[in-house]
Symmetry: C2
Subunit: 300 residues, 2 copies
DNA sequence: GCCGACTCTCCCCCCGGGGGAGGGCGCAGA
DNA sequence: TCTGCGCCCTCCCCCGGGGGGAGAGTCGGC
């Protein structure tokens, strides 16, 4: 009599398919207790059943296989608990955004809404402490949090006060390609000492078509759509990074419904009055690579 | 001047990546308003922005692309609303099972629990109205609902009363391969007229190792694990379909925590007393193909 | 020793995405 | 009118996390 359960037996006990058991073996998640070196047959023990069930639940919660492997190979229970808790936070966030997507969907399907006000505004050159980087779209939120924390620390260390609400500049390739340059900043009156990733820059002047997004950011793309539609119908084409100003944001209140975000879409100058052809507007694209991005300001 | 937005413009407005817009075009979800026949360039209009946003939200909610296509191509608003509502129900169910998975995970990671009682029981031959089919694992729940509804209707039409709690037989390939034969039944004293998929059958006698699962079925695999472990450690190997009896189930109360499900795992006869070798137990497999499955009973 | 059930590896498929190569197109400035 | 650059095209390969199935080897009861 063979000691150990065949893969089929183990599959029946754990409700993991044979295919999956083999895959988890390859991935190093669940080594069989014994592998016959000549036949390659996998043999499991009942002691492995709980592990299999934990793996099953992690997968059910959408945890990537690699991360499961990392957790299972973490010996320290505390470090392990941290990893698990971190993933559970992600899951919770996911649940929240699903709920939010349902709400947005309902609103989209019952198309009603107040007319959106768009106005043209000139952004004066603005001095600010800033962190910029090339980021991937689905990491931009985490990156934002981290960067803002660092900016806060810099201001606190230098004893400076913000001279206005913080904001960000986002390259449009972030949306078209899912990857692009982003910059978050806090406006200041006087330069701060550079440190870490923080630089003091001057946001160049720009003509922006601005509208205000109210509420959490889950459906900010809808406001972008309205703004973009409005602009497109005025035959004005855009150029340069889009500008978001977090007038009321997560750093002001946890009540997401109170948030106010200004979205500033760079437009060609000759607006009010003579709608310009899209071709003419494209001229604005020609300010050169990086046009619309801040230049390092006087430092010190 | 070209009328229409290039794919890049449209991407910036909708926050759908260029790749995705092309994919959705291929899939027929979002035809560009115009495609230049010579260059293949796609041109969109602002009128398509809302559609793009709806698609975006559906995808966010995990709706398969094909189903989005089906919804978008459904002209009747009511039929369309039905499809949407159906998916939202699925999403809701998903949220629920995610929460449940978190709870189960916590229990698994803090391994505590009352000892499970397993006892050996002989299932006598049982006459029942039943529906059987080969099903895929992730459709087995929907299939169960449908089949039970049909069984209920059959009993009601024939004026019969169940002679006990309903249950199901599930081929173990459902777990090992993700596909297998399943049969749900309601026990009856007298045969019912065959109709639709309903047949009157006799569940053959069987020796079952039985335990009771308490609560919702999301973590029923854990109980299977305990039962399977217990059996494996008694060196008794199983054969034939597993038997579930829904002593208290969804048809009795919506309070899932009150559910009681008996899980009966077929075992070789010579249990109590002499633990048999796994090899000997396999003999039970040899009752022939389909062993343990019911035979059509006397009809009429 | 036979034979059927089980297991092995290997390859292709699915979905919903992304990266990147190589080449054509649009458009404004020279 | 040409040139140059950015945009867009198609095509192919990659990823993760699964499934289907072929062909060959193994296990173990009879």
């Amino acid at each position: 009599m063979r000691t150990g359960l065949t893969i089929g037996d183990f599959s029946r006990i754990t409700h993991l398919s044979v295919k999956m058991l083999r895959r988890y073996h390859e991935a190093g998640l669940l080594e069989p207790a014994e592998v016959d070196p000549s036949s390659g047959y996998r043999y499991y023990t009942t002691a492995q059943v709980p592990t299999a069930q934990v793996i099953h639940r992690f997968r059910e919660l959408g945890m990537p296989v690699r991360e499961i492997g990392r957790i299972l190979s973490t010996p320290d229970p505390e470090a392990r608990a941290l990893l698990v808790a971190e993933h559970l936070r992600r899951v919770e966030h996911q649940l929240e955004s699903t709920r939010s997507a349902v709400a947005t969907l309902r609103r989209l399907l019952v198309p009603t809404g107040p007319p959106v006000e768009v106005d043209l505004r000139t952004r004066p050159p603005t001095r600010a402490v800033a962190i910029g980087a090339t980021v991937v779209r689905d990491q931009v939120l985490a990156w934002y949090d981290e960067a803002m924390t660092e900016l806060d620390a810099t201001l606190a260390a230098a004893g400076l006060e913000p001279s206005g609400p913080h904001g960000g500049l986002y390259d449009d390739t972030l949306f078209t390609d899912g990857r692009g340059h982003a910059l978050v900043y806090i406006p200041v009156h006087v330069p701060a000492p550079a440190g870490g990733r923080v630089r003091t820059v001057t946001l160049p002047a720009a003509e922006l078509a601005v509208t205000v997004h109210r509420g959490p950011h889950d459906d900010i793309d809808v406001t972008y759509g309205v703004l973009g539609t409005y602009i497109a119908e005025q035959a004005i084409t855009v150029s340069g990074p889009v500008h978001e100003i977090y007038v009321v944001g997560p750093r002001d209140t946890p009540d997401t419904s109170a948030w106010r975000t200004e979205i500033g879409w760079p437009v060609f100058r000759t607006w009010a009055g003579q709608p310009s052809a899209s071709g003419a507007a494209r001229e604005a694209d020609r300010v050169g690579p990086g046009g619309g991005w801040p230049r390092p300001g006087a430092h010190g």
